[in-house]
């Protein structure tokens, strides 16, 4: 097994790629009683158009299949629902679907072996019938409605719609009531066969484990699968420029919500370094101690620090700043001014201070085995080992940060999505 270690934070990850293509990452944690296993496939809502390796046929899925599949995986042929079975053991199981991956996990203190049996059993044994697929449409329909009522979700989807013209990232992960009506068991099986192949999957295990022993436990439980070639994913052409500058909608909120985005280009290398720099820059521009935040707070335009994030995969990369304000337009204007100021006169002292802060933020991620495991899995599907953030942190120089400031925070790539109060 390959071992990657960080001496700074005293953490190690053991990595093994098995013969069937599955990557297993083990992060031993001696001081916790909890155990966490997450098993993910590189299949998310954006993977809706691809060539099936076994038949070489091109296929387009209705929106929402990855998420629908996630819902249906728990049902077993013998009538058992694996979620229930795991809960009955006192184990905390769940699953989620993102734009680029789907994951199944559980956390436990006792009954680990039985829980691992169950997880590895249900993920490897799909069971879809016309009846159980139909039934799920009612439940997912309610979930979609819940999101329709959620102003922050609408804000987010609209921000993506501003940035992207064709990229499927702008489609709701759950799909629509209309699109899921087209899902049937054949669609689900076909997607399963393609994407739930070990060579398209990865597993992360965190807890008080001996890496060699737990690896054997995993191997024992794997079902033989035929080899599969590479899945050719087809994504629409996306122009580097934004789709539209603004989008607004009205919902029942008391104070407007805003999301300011910067569409970034997709870089093939140095994404970790770029990510660290963007996080430091975002803190400099509108973080808690920034002049801008203080000004907006004192003017009653911001009540709390906006949420800042940089999200990326091989298909997209963007910055998002979201919050609540009486006057979103003004926040946007002020932010643009601040970016201009920093470009003209970069505050080095502030940069050094926020670099320390960002380091602390990364260390805190290692407090919780569930956060650790999810982070390693999600980074893996981006081709990243999470420990790189701790190790590369020192390499982010002032010069580099200035360069990223110019590249990423470009006014031409900026968008504003707002949710305004009704009436």
């Amino acid at each position: 097994m390959k071992v990657v270690e960080s001496l700074k934070i005293k953490e190690k990850v053991y990595i093994e790629k098995l013969n069937n293509g599955l990557t297993v990452m083990i992060i031993p944690k001696e001081t916790t009683n909890k155990k966490f296993v997450i098993w993910g496939t590189h299949f998310g809502s954006i993977d809706n158009h691809f060539i099936v390796p076994s038949t070489n046929k091109e296929i387009t899925l209705p929106d929402g299949v990855a998420h629908f599949l996630e819902h249906k995986m728990f049902e077993q042929e013998n009538g058992v629902n694996s979620l229930d079975k795991l809960m009955a053991l006192g184990v905390d199981p769940n699953a989620y679907t993102t734009n680029n991956h789907t994951a199944y996990y559980f956390e436990c203190t006792t009954h680990f072996e039985e829980a691992l049996d169950e997880l590895m059993d249900y993920v490897q044994h799909p069971y879809f019938t016309d009846e159980n697929v139909e039934k799920e449409k009612g439940i997912i329909g309610q979930e979609i409605k819940m999101y329709e009522d959620d102003p922050s979700w609408q804000l987010y989807i609209n921000a993506l719609d501003c940035m992207y013209q064709n990229n499927p990232i702008k489609i709701d992960i759950a799909g629509t009531v209309e699109s899921i009506s087209k899902i049937n068991k054949e669609v689900l099986y076909k997607s399963y066969e393609t994407f739930y192949h070990p060579s398209n999957m990865a597993m992360v295990i965190c807890g008080n484990f001996k890496p060699e022993e737990i690896l054997e436990e995993i191997k024992k439980r794997l079902v033989q699968r035929k080899e599969q070639g590479e899945i050719k994913r087809i994504y629409p052409q996306e122009e580097p420029k934004i789709h539209q500058k603004n989008k607004e909608t009205s919902m029942e909120v008391s104070v407007p919500l805003f999301a300011i985005g910067f569409k970034d280009r997709i870089e093939q290398k140095d994404m970790v370094k770029r990510h660290i720099a963007v996080e430091i820059l975002l803190n400099m521009l509108i973080g808690k101690s920034s002049k801008l935040y203080q000004e907006l707070y004192n003017a009653g335009l911001l009540m709390a620090e906006p949420d800042i994030s940089y999200d990326f995969s091989e298909q997209y990369a963007y910055v998002l700043i979201t919050g609540q304000s009486k006057n979103p337009k003004q926040i946007e204007e002020k932010l643009k001014e601040e970016i201009k100021k920093q470009k003209e006169n970069f505050d080095v002292e502030q940069f050094e201070r926020l670099k320390r802060k960002v380091y602390g933020d990364y260390v805190v991620e290692y407090n919780n085995i569930s956060d650790i495991s999810r982070m390693f899995l999600s980074d893996f599907f981006k081709g990243i080992n999470s420990l790189e953030y701790i190790e590369q942190y020192t390499s982010v120089s002032t010069e580099y940060a200035k360069q990223i400031l110019t590249e990423v925070f470009d006014e031409n790539n900026e968008i504003l999505s707002t949710v305004l109060p009704k009436g």
């Binding site: 819940m146 973080g287 380091y359 407090n367």
Partner: protein, 425 residues
């Protein structure tokens, strides 16, 4: 892990949790007083004003810079309703010295900063800084108005409010807009001085402290404080017999209806709490629960269906997000579940599933610093000293008969529905 409580003075307690599970240390200070209509808004405002500046760091910007220098230490404050009491909560989370890229001591710095924020605020001419109070009044107003934004929590708040009209527990923890106009920088400061003289003070430190002399730092910080009797509210109210549950409907622009059913647990015995905890878990604790299985899985009526137990008030709140036209059907199915519980229509397996879920939740308490602090603070306020193991033992001992016994002490108090059609009482 070890937990230690040190009484600094009557009403002032230092709780130390030594644990090596984390990369961080977490410090917390809680100020607790009885919840009243008169003070609820002031308390919410006070927590916000205190974080604005100390006598050494005059602005929020100064405080933030200091926190960032400390490798992004995180300060947070808030207000909590705990039964009929209210707590002002202040937290500081900081990376443990062992994991810093260079050698530094952040423990003393953290405690100093946190105590400065709570006990040495910026004061000008015997009052808080005018600008801060005005700014925070405006913010608080927006928070109170924002109550309606999250429909699920709004529905729960509204149900509680209608069950506890004119009573402390029915108060909104952030207070009321109409109170704001009478609060000034001067009278808020006078109120603050009175509060810190009388409130209960709990100081928590959780982390891997090794040889560090935390006790000395804390003792020194509170040397000038006098002992106090905070007169916190005890929960001893008896539930009235309810023949016909109250029904309340309210209308907002939503596409999914929010159903909240408030239940009374008619008991005043401490040991029955554990039985009720188990009862609640069977009813609506997780995906094995009767509510989840019957409302979501079998009837496909909802995406969420669960219940939670507010033990200090002896209430259980059932919550479900449903299609509006399914209201009657959902209520009927839920009532059926309550009846089934009374008649013992649940299996030994349901019981053991619920216990397993609870035992593992309890086992996980020491795995999160703030959860562990909240647990010990809960013990403190309840006047009990259950260790995690004792708590688990009590859950293990609950029998099916115990659960049926509790089920028969439960009545529906209020059925609340947030809909998009004309509301009615």
């Amino acid at each position: 892990m070890s937990y230690q409580k040190i009484t600094l003075k009557e009403g002032i307690y230092f709780h130390k949790i030594q644990t090596n599970k984390f990369k961080t240390n977490l410090f917390a200070i809680f100020l607790t007083i009885p919840l009243t209509r008169e003070n609820v808004t002031k308390n919410a405002l006070l927590a916000a004003v205190l974080r604005r500046g100390t006598n050494k760091m005059l602005t929020q910007e100064d405080i933030s810079k200091q926190l960032e220098e400390m490798y992004g230490a995180a300060f947070d404050c808030g207000i909590d309703k705990i039964g009929d009491n209210q707590s002002l909560k202040f937290y500081l989370e900081v990376v443990n010295n062992q994991f810093l890229p260079e050698k530094e001591d952040l423990v003393q710095k953290s405690l100093t900063l946190l105590t400065d924020i709570v006990f040495h605020p910026l004061v000008e001419k015997e009052q808080f800084k005018e600008e801060y109070v005005q700014g925070e009044k405006e913010n608080l107003k927006q928070i109170i108005e924002g109550k309606v934004d999250n429909k699920a929590t709004y529905a729960l708040e509204s149900c509680i409010e209608s069950m506890y009209k004119e009573k402390p527990y029915g108060l909104y923890k952030y207070g009321y807009i109409e109170d704001l106009k009478d609060i000034t920088a001067q009278n808020l400061y006078a109120y603050y001085q009175e509060l810190i003289q009388n409130c209960q003070i709990d100081i928590f430190a959780s982390g891997d402290f090794g040889e560090e002399k935390l006790e000395q730092i804390v003792e020194k910080a509170f040397a000038t404080y006098t002992e106090r009797k905070p007169n916190l509210a005890l929960e001893e109210e008896t539930k009235e017999e309810i023949k016909e549950p109250r029904k309340k409907m309210e209308s907002k622009q939503i596409s999914q209806g929010k159903l909240v059913i408030g239940l009374d647990v008619k008991t005043d015995k401490e040991e029955e709490n554990y039985k009720t905890v188990v009862y609640n878990t069977i009813l609506g604790g997780g995906s094995n629960s009767k509510l989840f299985q019957n409302v979501r899985e079998k009837a496909s009526l909802a995406y969420t269906a669960s219940s939670s137990y507010a033990r200090r008030k002896q209430n259980i709140f059932i919550r479900a997000g449903i299609e509006i036209e399914n209201y009657d059907k959902a209520v009927e199915i839920i009532e059926k579940q309550l009846q089934d519980m009374k008649e013992g229509n649940f299996s030994e397996e349901d019981l053991s599933n619920a216990k397993n879920l609870l035992l593992s939740t309890i086992e996980n308490i020491p795995e999160e610093q703030d959860t562990e602090i909240t647990y010990y603070f809960g013990q403190e306020l309840a006047g009990t000293e259950d260790t995690i193991e004792m708590y688990q033992e009590k859950i293990k001992n609950v029998t099916k008969e115990d659960v049926i016994d509790v089920a028969n002490k439960i009545q529906i108090n209020t059925i609340y529905f947030l809909t998009n059609q004309g509301g009615k009482e």
